[in-house]
């Protein structure tokens, strides 16, 4: 122990201790020489004999130093110093090496950070390893779980110790005492929620099973708030407990505050209010087999139970329950057969995993792409190192000859690799810290704000793993090559023309690997490019330019929030009047060309399919999408009329009921007959189940998804004749007026009815683009990295060839002197390059085809194994390879035979 301390101390006083040893040795020699002189020898002889008696001074010092300090550390420090000097001398090499590794490591770290924040980080519960997510499936596809099924499962399961359901309310309108209504992110949860997750309060108490009972509107109701809300609205005052938060028709008393660390049951949504699900829901809705279903169900495994056991048990139960429950009403187009159903039990440590479901695949693809780039970058640096190492063979041989041990040289080269990797790693992590929030906001949009994007241990581990892997590749390959140099026992001083074929082969293999991997990325980006083009080239059937979209919630008290419930004619009339006024005033805003109100907006992910019955043949009941819109809707979104007329001001509540349909519906229901004047009856509960007369046909359009392969049938009814609460306002504006108009429109809505609240404001173009964001993102990433990978391959190839030219100068000189044409020298290099491209393609194409297949879920309008794309990628690769060979080939052809021969 004492020796270790002294040794470490010695590291820092090395210079001083060296001086002391020198002095001691000098004194020793002097005394010894003096002794010999006393015996009558001349000073020279005495000095000579003294040195002989003493033995080798330098080897002794070497032993002494090793004994004194920590030799590994010291030689490492020496290696590092040497490396830094060597790298500083080769600025271009160092810059390319460090930069490419930086980008590779930054890319992998960034994507991993985002994945980590969105789906890997455990939620702040107790013993989260026992948590599981339940995923109902129909034919292996995600399905929905209705409340009666959930309750039956919860009552019967033996494998889970607890289960809870969550219904998300990202915009719940609430009123705190003495404040205007506002929106808050809320979760309606089972009473067992906090207990199953194992969350503790920071004040008061949390919800329990007894809070979560069916109750009337006047029954007491408990609410739990987040620590952030407690801080923001109550300044952490304990008097917040017991104060009342007003929902649409309920008053709930705040009973507790969740501890600050708990930000919700999944990444990407941070609820601020938790309410007991059953307590605030209507009995009718909960008991129905069609209405209340859940965004997510989680549970906790009983000790000793595996997920597989739970999966088996719950699947059996889920199927049994189907047999007991009454069959689903025909609104669900095809009721599931019990055998189609199963219950997946997934790990729940990271929570419900909404983001994972949505973006997991895309992020995994991206991680694969960036990891591939890192691999290519590392191979590239290794290759450049190898070329450099071969060029440095004389230097290394000299050092060997001067007595450096072979291990010392290998260590030296490995250190170079490590230093480059470390530099790349450090700058890479730095860059990743900057890039992570950007990537997150590109991927998740507004939801990125609620993610914790701080760098955590796992991210750092991943980054260091990436760095270490790189160091290994970059350092070890040249080092292995060096040991080959040693074992050949040659002293290749000045011998440039004979290079071991082994290193040639290795360099070539590395280049081929690089090219093959680049081919994969280029193919992927080609496939995604076509997807993006196809998606953006899709004929929308409406004009998305300069249209402002407002997502609205009509929170007017009274009436029923649910679609199917009956409302009094009085409520309807009041609402119709308000909407007429809103419509008028919106159209009067300066800069607005036309404006409309609608039940739901285009590409809003809302959809309603309803059955349309032919009144003359009631057996003909087929479904169509349905929307309720105000009179200027079609002008505003720019849909084109084919026949008849659109909805007008005249189509008021008292006027005859009319409808406008699209071409698909016309074709489907009427074939060649003229649909104008024909009648259809929408089959839904309420007082609208009277026939409507078709007055117009519109050109088909895309309504909700770019990927929809065929346009479905659609019908529009006048909003004034079926006055449901609107969720969307559209405004066609003059170019540049978008922002101003959207503010004025919000003000207009407030002035007519303060309960008409704007949740979100966007443009129609953005709304449409947003649905293809994932594809565009993948395309951008794969193109950027594919290009980068190609560039790296080109640099690597250029470096190798340049080295080859330098090495073969003499041979080329001889050829030229013997009468070879310069063009044949150039040809030699190009043939070589083409052979290389061909080898890379032979290896890369199967890999690229496999990669295309794994991308299939993201592709649109292009086959995953599209031969044209693969061929184009091969073409790009070949061109790159040829271009990289140009300069070295040209240089080779300029070799002057006389100089080349003389130089040896």
């Amino acid at each position: 122990m004492r020796a270790v301390v002294q040794r470490i101390a010695a590291l820092f006083r090395r210079r001083h201790l060296d001086d002391q040893l020198d002095e001691e040795v000098r004194g020793h020699l002097d005394l010894l020489a003096a002794e010999y002189e006393r015996r009558g020898l001349t000073p020279e002889q005495a000095r000579h004999l003294a040195r002989r008696d003493f033995g080798g001074v330098e080897p002794m010092k070497e032993v002494y130093r090793d004994r004194r300090g920590l030799p590994i550390v010291e030689t490492f420090a020496q290696d590092v110093r040497y490396t830094v000097r060597a790298l500083a001398q080769h600025r271009w090499f160092s810059a390319v090496a460090v930069l490419s590794l930086t980008l590779g490591i930054a890319g992998t770290t960034t994507v991993f950070s985002v994945m980590d924040a969105a789906m890997l980080r455990p939620i702040a519960g107790r013993n989260v390893g026992g948590l599981v997510v339940l995923e109902p499936r129909r034919n292996q596809e995600r399905f929905i779980l209705f409340n009666p099924e959930f309750e039956a499962l919860r009552g019967r399961t033996q494998t889970l110790s607890g289960m809870f359901a969550v219904a998300e309310q990202p915009f719940l309108k609430v009123e705190f005492p003495g404040e205007p209504p506002s929106y808050i992110a809320a979760s309606l949860v089972s009473g067992t929620y906090f207990d199953v997750l194992g969350v503790t309060p920071s004040a008061g108490r949390l919800l329990t099973a007894s809070d979560d009972r069916l109750a009337g509107p006047d029954a007491p109701c408990a609410a739990v708030i987040s620590d952030a809300l407690w801080r923001r609205r109550f300044a952490r005052d304990r008097r917040a407990l017991g104060s009342v938060v007003r929902l649409r028709d309920r008053d709930c008393a705040i009973v507790g505050v969740v501890k600050a660390a708990f930000t919700g049951h999944q990444a990407g949504s941070v609820p601020e209010l938790w309410l007991p699900l059953r307590n605030v829901s209507e009995r009718r809705v909960l008991e129905s087999q069609t209405q209340a279903f859940y965004a997510g169900v989680m549970g906790r495994l009983n000790p000793g139970v595996t997920r597989e056991q739970a999966e088996a048990e719950l699947t059996t139960l889920y199927r049994e329950i189907q047999a007991l429950e009454p069959p689903l009403p025909p609104t669900l187009r095809q009721p599931p057969k019990p055998s189609e159903l199963s219950m997946g039990v997934l790990p729940g440590a990271a929570g419900m995993g909404g983001l994972r479901r949505q973006f997991g695949d895309a992020l995994a693809m991206m991680l694969a792409a960036v990891a591939l780039v890192l691999l290519i970058a590392a191979i590239n640096v290794a290759n450049l190192q190898l070329a450099r190492g071969a060029a440095r063979a004389p230097e290394l041989a000299t050092r060997l000859a001067l007595g450096a041990s072979r291990w010392r040289l290998i260590r030296q080269l490995a250190t170079e690799g490590a230093v480059i990797a470390l530099a790349g790693g450090l700058t890479g992590v730095g860059l990743a810290i900057i890039l992570t929030p950007r990537l997150a906001s590109v991927v998740f949009g507004a939801r990125a704000a609620s993610l914790d994007l701080s760098v955590d241990v796992r991210v750092l581990l991943a980054a260091s793993a990436a760095t270490m892997l790189t160091a290994l590749l970059v350092g070890v390959i040249p080092a292995v090559r060096l040991s080959a140099l040693h074992s050949s026992r040659r002293l290749p001083l000045g011998d440039r023309s004979r290079e071991s074929p082994g290193s040639q082969r290795l360099m070539r293999t590395l280049i081929v690997a690089q090219c093959a991997l680049s081919l994969l990325l280029v193919t992927a980006s080609g496939l995604l490019l076509q997807t993006s083009l196809r998606l953006s080239g899709i004929e929308l059937g409406f004009d998305s330019g300069h249209v402002v979209l407002l997502e609205i919630a009509d929170e007017t008290p009274g009436g029923s929030p649910s679609f199917s419930a009956r409302e009094t004619p009085d409520t309807r009339a009041r609402r119709a009047a308000a909407y007429r006024l809103v419509d008028e005033r919106l159209n009067a805003i300066p800069g607005v060309q036309s404006s409309s109100l609608s039940w739901y907006g285009l590409f809003s992910m809302n959809d309603l399919w309803t059955t349309l019955v032919d009144p003359r043949r009631t057996s003909d009941r087929r479904e169509a999408r349905m929307n309720f819109v105000s009179s200027l809707y079609f002008d505003t979104v720019g849909m084109r009329l084919v026949r008849g007329r659109t909805i007008t001001e005249a189509d008021q509540f008292e006027a005859p009921r009319v409808a406008v349909i699209n071409e698909s519906l016309a074709r489907q229901r009427f074939g060649d007959r003229d649909p104008i004047g024909a009648q259809l009856t929408p089959d839904f509960p309420g007082d609208e189940d009277r026939p409507v007369t078709i007055v117009g046909v519109l050109e088909d359009a895309r309504y909700n998804s770019l990927r929809e392969t065929t346009t479905g049938p659609m019908v529009w009814l006048p909003l004034q004749q079926a006055v449901y609460r609107i969720t969307s306002v559209e405004l066609r504006v003059q170019s540049g007026a978008e922002a101003a108009v959207s503010q004025q429109a919000a003000a207009v809505l407030r002035s007519v009815n303060p309960y008409l609240m704007v949740r979100r404001s966007t443009t129609l173009a953005d709304q449409v683009q947003g649905t293809a964001a994932r594809e565009r993102l993948l395309f951008t990433v794969s193109t950027a990295f594919g290009g980068f990978a190609l560039l790296l391959a080109a640099i690597g190839l250029h470096g190798t060839l340049a080295y080859k030219v330098a090495r073969r100068t003499r041979e080329i000189g001889v050829r030229l002197a013997l009468g070879a044409q310069r063009s044949s020298v150039v040809g030699m290099f190009f043939t070589d390059a083409l052979a290389l491209a061909a080898t890379s393609a032979a290896i890369g194409v199967p890999i690229a085809l496999a990669a295309g297949w794994s991308l299939r879920a993201f592709l649109f309008g292009v086959a995953p194994r599209d031969p044209l794309t693969v061929a184009a990628a091969c073409g790009v690769l070949t061109i790159t390879v040829l271009m990289a060979s140009c300069v070295p080939a040209f240089r080779a052809s300029r070799v002057d035979p006389v100089t080349a021969l003389r130089s040896e």
Partner: protein
């Protein structure tokens, strides 16, 4: 002349310092040579790593002083721990030697 057996040099240094008091490296080397009377091939330089080793173990300590030719020199002296180690090692050596000679005589 023969190599110094492993461990013997340490013991020789400790014994020398124990018997003669503080000495510099040269003095120790000379003393060992005298005792060996030419039966030992000792590069005098090799005692320095040995001295360092002993010092790291705390068996000897060193201090700078003046040598006989009025130069700064490092003087080594045995410590209490060193004396204890010396007695342990000498015991070990004598017992090993006795055993070895018995073994060699018998066969």
């Amino acid at each position: 002349m023969d190599e110094v057996p492993y461990g013997a040099l340490d013991l020789m240094v400790l014994k020398t310092l124990d018997g003669m008091g503080p000495l510099h490296g040269y003095g120790i080397a000379r003393r060992i040579e005298q005792i060996a009377e030419g039966s030992l091939a000792l590069n005098q330089g090799t005692i320095y790593p040995a001295l360092l080793r002993l010092e790291q173990k705390g068996w000897i300590k060193s201090d700078w002083g003046m040598s006989e030719n009025n130069r700064r020199a490092r003087f080594y002296a045995i410590t209490r721990a060193g004396k204890k180690q010396l007695s342990i090692e000498s015991d070990l050596w004598s017992r090993t030697l006795a055993m070895m000679s018995r073994l060699l005589e018998e066969s």
